[in-house]
Amino acid sequence: MKKTWWKILASVLVVYTAIAGLLLGVPRLAILNETIRNLYFHVPMWFAMIVLFSISVFYSIKSLSTKSEIDDMKAVESVNAGIIFGLLGLVTGAVWAKYTWGQFWSFDPKQNFAAISVLLYFAYLILRNAIDEEQKRAKISAIYNIFAFPMMVVLLFVLPRLKDSLHPGNGGNPGFNSYDLDSRMRMVFYPACLGWILIGYWVYTIRFRIRSIENKQQHN
């Protein structure tokens, strides 16, 4: 129980936000209408992705100094889990964009930069596949991961502010929190973020355990 409480918490939170996010009241706004509920499902994906990629960078830095295989596996599995959330974030954003902007993909700067930052991590995975020798692979991919992380931060948080974007919170469009994230929405939004981050972490721990078992079998 001591070790699993956060998994239970995560499941409860996500189930709660799925139900409450679809049923509880939301402010009625022009154009957005009911699509405002996407806030509960789209934004937490990015938070989970950022957390997972930060975990990955942390273990990449650690694996450079410890040279341990476990740290390398942790780094790659958190990237694998983070990419899932990045793709989910792109998909939920695209579906929302279909109903508010009129197109799934309208080449909005925010969409483009998010897609490029996912590409960055695909490049990381391809780099891993290109190297056969395990220790060399761990070292070089850790270096690329650390090198790429500040670029991802620039892509996701700095550049969209310099360009005009239709995305809420950019280019003069009000962000959700400034005008309508009233207490009803806060009650769902914050638990959703926490819940999805925990789920993401859970996915990563499971993937890591599977990989370490596979690794052990290979070595025996």
Partner: protein
Amino acid sequence: MQLAKEVKYLIHKEVLLEWRSKYTINGVLLYVVSTIFTCYLSFVSLGDKLTWNALFWIIMLFASINGVSKSFLQETKGQQLYSYILASPAAILISKTVYNTLLMLVLTTIALGFYTLVFDSFTPPDLMMYYIAVVLGSISFSTVFTMVSAIASKAGNGGMLMAILSFPIIIPVLILLIKLAKNAVDGLPWENSYDEIAMLLVVNVLVVATSLLLFPYLWRD
């Protein structure tokens, strides 16, 4: 002080080697010239000044990938080992970056001249600012590509890996550059471009700092 001496010596070595063979500079120059010429033959005339700008940066991007990636990919294992014994990793990285910046500056200047000569339908009203964008572009391309080419050469799978690894990293820089160059093309006053210039400098400092931190780990085998 030791570092400065080593860097100076290594840059001298790089320039001397290049001067003897003149392979990279002539090769990339021919590459740029023939690309511009091919573009001219396929476009004939660029009606739009935005297309004019975008095409120039695309040509520059590919030329600099080809030019800068030589720096580590071309060296043999023995050469790398030799310089590893003689100099500190920081000195090697700094000297390569500075040398690549010099190379790119020469190249982009010639390319810009040839480009305006071939596509003479349009010249940026603010040439000074456009040239600053070009200079910043050479610096950013060489800082990013030097480190990525070091990674790609260690991974031992040259060309394709170089492109895959560097594109996602260079795209944000390229977007800033195109924006800055577009300001020059539109003839906007300088105040409008300070944001982009500052941002480009910040990104470059970021890239150089992370490269300097990471390169010693990469260098050691």
